[in-house]
Symmetry: C2
Subunit: 222 residues, 2 copies
């Protein structure tokens, strides 16, 4: 596999470890297992807007969806405060342990690194800043400036235009099959970061390369 000039990184779950969200939910009196339906529902709603050519900020959808999920929970300090607390936890996550060595190896190899998130650019910048990796990234891009969420073609086109590269010089790295599928259809190379040994869901177009950790991608790209 040829080395791309530029790698676009998905952020939520790909760079950030969402595991602590269970604890943040428990801290406001909700079951920790709500983290999974919460995140899947946020993506469902943001992508539903993309399917009709519309958009809304990730944080708005995340807060509204959380409010719905917590509606029947006895929250000690009230619903508003509970939503605020969990959202606060979401903006203070840490990166997965494989991210620092992977980012360093890819950066040392001369690949340009940019984030392209359905969330806010500031969340990606904060996440990588806390990990001491912010300087390794050229830009922190958000679909908020593209006017449409991934996996719509316009979101990837925005990332490419802002970075000044064509699709075939770029690679998307993501844990989410729907993101890999969208990027592949938009003409980018794709790397599926499959940390959990999951089976590829056959309803999506497959990735160009599959790796279990980010340093393995640096190895693959030579």
């Amino acid at each position: 596999m040829q080395r791309p000039d530029l790698i676009l990184f998905d952020v939520n779950e790909t760079l950030s470890d969402l595991a602590p969200m269970a604890g943040h939910l428990e801290a406001v009196g909700a079951p920790g297992h709500l983290a999974k339906p919460w995140f899947a529902s946020v993506l469902r709603d943001g992508i539903a807007l993309a399917a009709v050519g519309a958009t809304a900020p990730f944080a708005d959808i995340a807060a509204a969806t959380l409010r719905g999920l917590l509606a029947t929970t006895q929250t000690p300090d009230g619903l508003d405060r509970a939503v605020e607390q969990v959202m606060e936890g979401f903006t203070h996550l840490a990166v997965h342990p494989d991210i620092a060595p992977g980012v360093e190896a890819l950066g040392d190899a001369g690949v340009r690194l940019v984030t392209l998130s359905n969330g806010a650019a500031s969340v990606a910048e904060g996440l990588l800043g806390r990990a001491g990796l912010a300087e390794r990234f050229e830009r922190f891009l958000s679909v908020e400036d593209a006017g449409i969420w991934k996996p719509a073609a316009g979101a990837y086109a925005y990332g490419l235009t802002e970075s000044g590269v064509t699709a075939d010089s770029a690679m998307l790295v993501a844990v989410h099959p729907w993101d890999i599928d969208g990027a592949g259809r938009a003409g980018l190379h794709t790397a599926w970061l499959n940390r959990d040994g999951a089976t590829w869901p056959g309803h999506f177009r497959g990735p160009d390369v599959e790796i279990a950790t980010l340093p393995a991608l640096a190895d693959e790209l030579g």
Copy 2:
């Protein structure tokens, strides 16, 4: 509110009660609370394909997603059998208690009734057949024949064309805000069936009418 000539009914969760899915998951050794992330993930994936102009059958996405969720579960008869059993449960659900009186009242009022599902037409037909309501419906339509899932405009356009009505003579009834939003953008009237007293998520365009039970819609339409 003027009575529409035709009502398009969403099927999964709107007509069918998904509550028994928790028990079907427990029967194969999985936690019942996986039902929520399962269904949200299926919708996320099908709608992600809609956002890139592609599609896949609901049953394929549902089975692949379930397989992913059950991968770490100790299933007594193996993963294949577990997926099969849960999918079997999904195709044998019952309607919510408010559906029969609501469908009868709307049918008696002379409104044409059609289902428009992201799932298979046969599942809707089976569901309403078991409830003794199949003859009240003119057609059972699936987006499988539209080539794209709701909330993409093409899915609603297919339902209207097949029914021979214009958007402003039709109403969509659904529990899902993303479906109401898409139908509204496609020009249909919309009724949000809000059985749980949820708050409308402000990132979506609101419904024309909100009801807590289906008979209340018959009352609203006079």
